[in-house]
C-alpha cells in the first residue's frame, strides 16, 4: 500500500503560526517540503504558488490475519516427511543422483520411523513404573474379556452341520450346572469359607456412579451394585504354599466367559467371612481368623486391604464368622460377631475402633460361641445367632433387652448355617428361619416359639449351610459334606428334597448362596471351587405359593402337635 502525500499550497491548519511573529518556528512536521512551503508562505503569503512536491513512499505491511484451525492428531514424522516432499518438489530436479540419495534417506527414515531401541534397563524400568501397572491392569481386563468371547461372526450356517448342543436339560424343575469358577493359582488347595453375591438394590438413587473422567473399564466396575453378576468368594489358607498370603478373596464375574477372577484380594490371615458392603459400592468387608476385619476397595489397585481393624481387646480377638452391613443408606453399621461371643458394631468410615460392642451371654453365664448370624428381613435391631453348642439364640442390639433374649434348643451339634425367610409377598413369613447343623439335620423354626417347627432329616452327613430363596416363599437350598446340593420346596414335599444333585467328585460343600434374582445358586466346596447352578422352573414363584405355604405351615404345626411347648414371647420388633 502506498500513500502519496501531496502537499498543497494552503498551509496545514494545525501548524500555522501567527504570521506576525517574525521568527519562524519549526513545527512538528519535519518534512522538509512542508517546511519549505511554510517558509515560502511566511515571506510571500499572498502569492499562491503551486509547485511540485516531494512524494513520500510509505510501505505498510499487510495486516496479519490470525486464524485458528482445528488441531488434528497427525504425528510429527508424517509432517516432516510431507514437508520434505514439498521441498523436493519445489527444488525440482537438481543433480539427479543427489536427489535420489536424499529421497532414499528420507524414505528410510520414515519407513524405520523409530530407529531408537530401548535398552533392557529402560524396559525394566518401564515395566515397574506405577502408570504402566495401572495401564496393564486395565487393558488386560478388557483384553481377557474380548478373548473369551468367541463369537464367530463369519459363521456360515448353510455349509456346516450344526452340532446339537445338548445341555443338561433334565426337565424344567431341576438343577443344571452353569459355570465353575476356579483359579489355578489362588483357589488351589484352599477351602471356600464364604460366598456373597453383589446385592441388587431397587433404588437407582442409591447407586453411586463414578465420574466420567475415569477410563471406560473402571467406570464400569467401580460400583458393584448395578452388577448382580458379581460374586465374591473367600478362601482359607493354602497349606501347600506357606509363602502365599493366608487369606484370599476373589471377585468372580458371571457375565463374561473369561475364567479368571475379576478382582483378586488377599490378606495376612485366613478370611473366614466376606461380604459386599451394601451401602458402599466399592467396598468388600472380610472377617478373618485372627479377629481382624479388613476392607478392600476396588478403586485402588492394591490387592491388600485398604483398612483394617486393630487387633485389640476392644475389637475382636477370635475368628469373625459373621459380617453383615445393616441399616439404610444414611445410617448403616457393620455388625460383626466373633466366636468368643463378642458383637461389635462399626462405622465403615472409621475402623480404628468399634462404635459399640457387647458380650453375648445367655442368662449371665458364659458367653455364646457364635458360628453364624442372620438378620430377619427389614429388621436392624433383632437378630439370630447360632452357637457351637447347638443352641440358637435371638438377640437385640439396642433397647431394654440388649443382648441375648431367647434360647432355641433343638440341634445336637454345632449350628453351621442360619437363614431368615426373605421372600417378600402377600403373606409375611419373616418370623421363620432355618438352621443347619453337624447333627445331619436342617430345622425350621419360628421366632415365636422356642422349639423347632420341623426337622428335615434327609442328609447322611454334616449339613454345612442352608439358605432361603430370596424370591420363592417355600424354597430353600442346603449343602452337606457328601457333595449334595438339595433344594427343598416345602409346598411340594417336606420329607425329601424336591431337587438334588451331587457335585462332581463329591467334595464337601461348605457354602451355598442364592443369587439376588433367585435363579442361580452358588456352591463353594472344600477344594476351592465355586459351582454355579441354574435352577429352572422350580425357582420361579407363583402368587398362590404364599397362600399354599401358609397351609403347609399349618399342616406342619398340626402334625407336630405333640410335645410342642408354646414359646413364651413374641420378640419386640
Amino acid at each position: 500500500m502506498r500513500v502519496v502525500n501531496l502537499a498543497c499550497s494552503l498551509p496545514p491548519v494545525p501548524c500555522v503560526t501567527p504570521p506576525a511573529a517574525p521568527s519562524r518556528t519549526l513545527q512538528w512536521d519535519t518534512d522538509p517540503s512542508v517546511l519549505q512551503l511554510q517558509a515560502d508562505s511566511e515571506l510571500g503569503r499572498r502569492t499562491h504558488r503551486l509547485g511540485p512536491s516531494k512524494i513520500t513512499q510509505v510501505d505498510f505491511l499487510p495486516r496479519e490475519v490470525v486464524s485458528y484451525c482445528k488441531e488434528t492428531q497427525t504425528p510429527l514424522a508424517a509432517h516432516q516427511s510431507e514437508d520434505e516432499e514439498e521441498e523436493e518438489e519445489v527444488t525440482e530436479q537438481k543433480a539427479g543422483p543427489e536427489n535420489d540419495l536424499q529421497e532414499e534417506e528420507e524414505s528410510k527414515d520414515t519407513k524405520e520411523g523409530h530407529p531408537r531401541e530401548l535398552t533392557e534397563e529402560e524396559k525394566q524400568q518401564v515395566l515397574h513404573s506405577e502408570e504402566f501397572l495401572i495401564f496393564f491392569d486395565r487393558s488386560i481386563r478388557v483384553m481377557e474379556r474380548a478373548l473369551a468371547e468367541d463369537s464367530n461372526i463369519f459363521f456360515d450356517y448353510s455349509g456346516r452341520d450344526l452340532e446339537e448342543k445338548e445341555g443338561d436339560l433334565q426337565g424344567g424343575s431341576s438343577l443344571s450346572l452353569n459355570r465353575l469358577f476356579y483359579d489355578e493359582h489362588w483357589s488351589k488347595h484352599r477351602v471356600i469359607t464364604c460366598l456373597d453375591w453383589s446385592p441388587q438394590l431397587y433404588h437407582p438413587l442409591l447407586c453411586s456412579l463414578s465420574l466420567s473422567h475415569l477410563s471406560p473399564v473402571s467406570t464400569l466396575l467401580s460400583s458393584y451394585f448395578q452388577y448382580p453378576e458379581l460374586l465374591v468368594a473367600s478362601y482359607n489358607n493354602n497349606e501347600d504354599a506357606p509363602h502365599e498370603p493366608d487369606g484370599v478373596a476373589l471377585v468372580w464375574n458371571m457375565k463374561f466367559k473369561k475364567t479368571t477372577p475379576e478382582y483378586i484380594y488377599h490378606c495376612q490371615s485366613p478370611v473366614v467371612s466376606v461380604g459386599f458392603a451394601r451401602f458402599h459400592p466399592n467396598l468388600l468387608v472380610g472377617g478373618t481368623y485372627s479377629g481382624q476385619i479388613v476392607l478392600w476397595d476396588n478403586r485402588s489397585h492394591r490387592r491388600t486391604p485398604v483398612q483394617r481393624t486393630p487387633l485389640s481387646a476392644a475389637a475382636h480377638t477370635h475368628p469373625v464368622y459373621c459380617v453383615n452391613v445393616v441399616g439404610t443408606q444414611n445410617a448403616n453399621n457393620l455388625i460383626t460377631v466373633s466366636t468368643d461371643g463378642r458383637m461389635c458394631s462399626w462405622n465403615l468410615d472409621m475402623l480404628s475402633q468399634p462404635q459399640e460392642s457387647m458380650e453375648l451371654v445367655y442368662n449371665k453365664s458364659k458367653p455364646v460361641a457364635v458360628t453364624g448370624m442372620a438378620f430377619p428381613t427389614g429388621d436392624v435391631n433383632n437378630y439370630i445367632v447360632g452357637s457351637e453348642e447347638g443352641t440358637v439364640y435371638t438377640a437385640s442390639r439396642h433397647g431394654s433387652k440388649a443382648g441375648i433374649c431367647e434360647m432355641f434348643e433343638g440341634h445336637q451339634g454345632p449350628v453351621t448355617g442360619i437363614s431368615c425367610h426373605s421372600a417378600v409377598g402377600p403373606v409375611d413369613f419373616s418370623h421363620l428361619f432355618v438352621t443347619s447343623s453337624f447333627d445331619w439335620t436342617v430345622k425350621l423354626w419360628s421366632t415365636k416359639q422356642n422349639k423347632p417347627l420341623y426337622s428335615f432329616e434327609d442328609n447322611a452327613d454334616y449339613v454345612y449351610d442352608v439358605m432361603w430363596s430370596p424370591v420363592h416363599p417355600s424354597l430353600f437350598a442346603a449343602v452337606d459334606g457328601m457333595g449334595r446340593l438339595d433344594l427343598w420346596n416345602l409346598n411340594n414335599d417336606t420329607e425329601v428334597p424336591t431337587a438334588s444333585v451331587t457335585i462332581e467328585g463329591a467334595p464337601a460343600l461348605n457354602r451355598v448362596r442364592w443369587a439376588a434374582g433367585g435363579k442361580e445358586v452358588a456352591v463353594g466346596d472344600s477344594e476351592g471351587r465355586v459351582w454355579i447352578y441354574d435352577v429352572g422352573e422350580l425357582a420361579v414363584p407363583h402368587s398362590e405359593d404364599w397362600a399354599h405355604f401358609g397351609h403347609t405351615l399349618m399342616e406342619i404345626r398340626a402334625n407336630h402337635g405333640d410335645g410342642e411347648e408354646e414359646g413364651p414371647v413374641e420378640l419386640a420388633t
Binding site: K70, T72, Q73, T74, P75, G113, H114, R116, E117, L118, K123, V126, L127, H128, E131, F132, L133, F135, F136, R138, S139, I140, V142, M143, E144, A146, L147, D150, N152, I153, H185, P216, T260
Partner: protein, 96 residues
Amino acid sequence: MAEVEETIKRIQSQKGVQGIIIVNAEGIPIKSTLDNSSTVQYAGNVHQLLMKARGMVRDIDPQNDLTFLRVRSKKNEIMIAPDKDYFLIVVQNPTE
C-alpha cells in the same frame, strides 16, 4: 513385577493366542512374546494404524477418543487396547 509376567504367560497359554506385545507411546516395543522381527513389524504397523484411527475418531468428533481396535483378517485377529502412554496388542486365531 512378577504379576505382569504371570499374567502375560497365562494369556499366552490361552487357546488361539499367538502373541502379546506391549508398546510404548512412541511405538517402541517394551515386552513381547513373539520374535524380534515380528515384534518390530507389528509394533510399527500397529502404531501407524492406531494414530490414523485415533485421528479419524477425533476428527469426526473432537470430544471422542479411541478405546479399542480389532482387526479381523482371514487368518487371525489383532486386538489393540490403546492408552495414553502405552498400548497392548494381542494376536489370536479366533477359530481355533
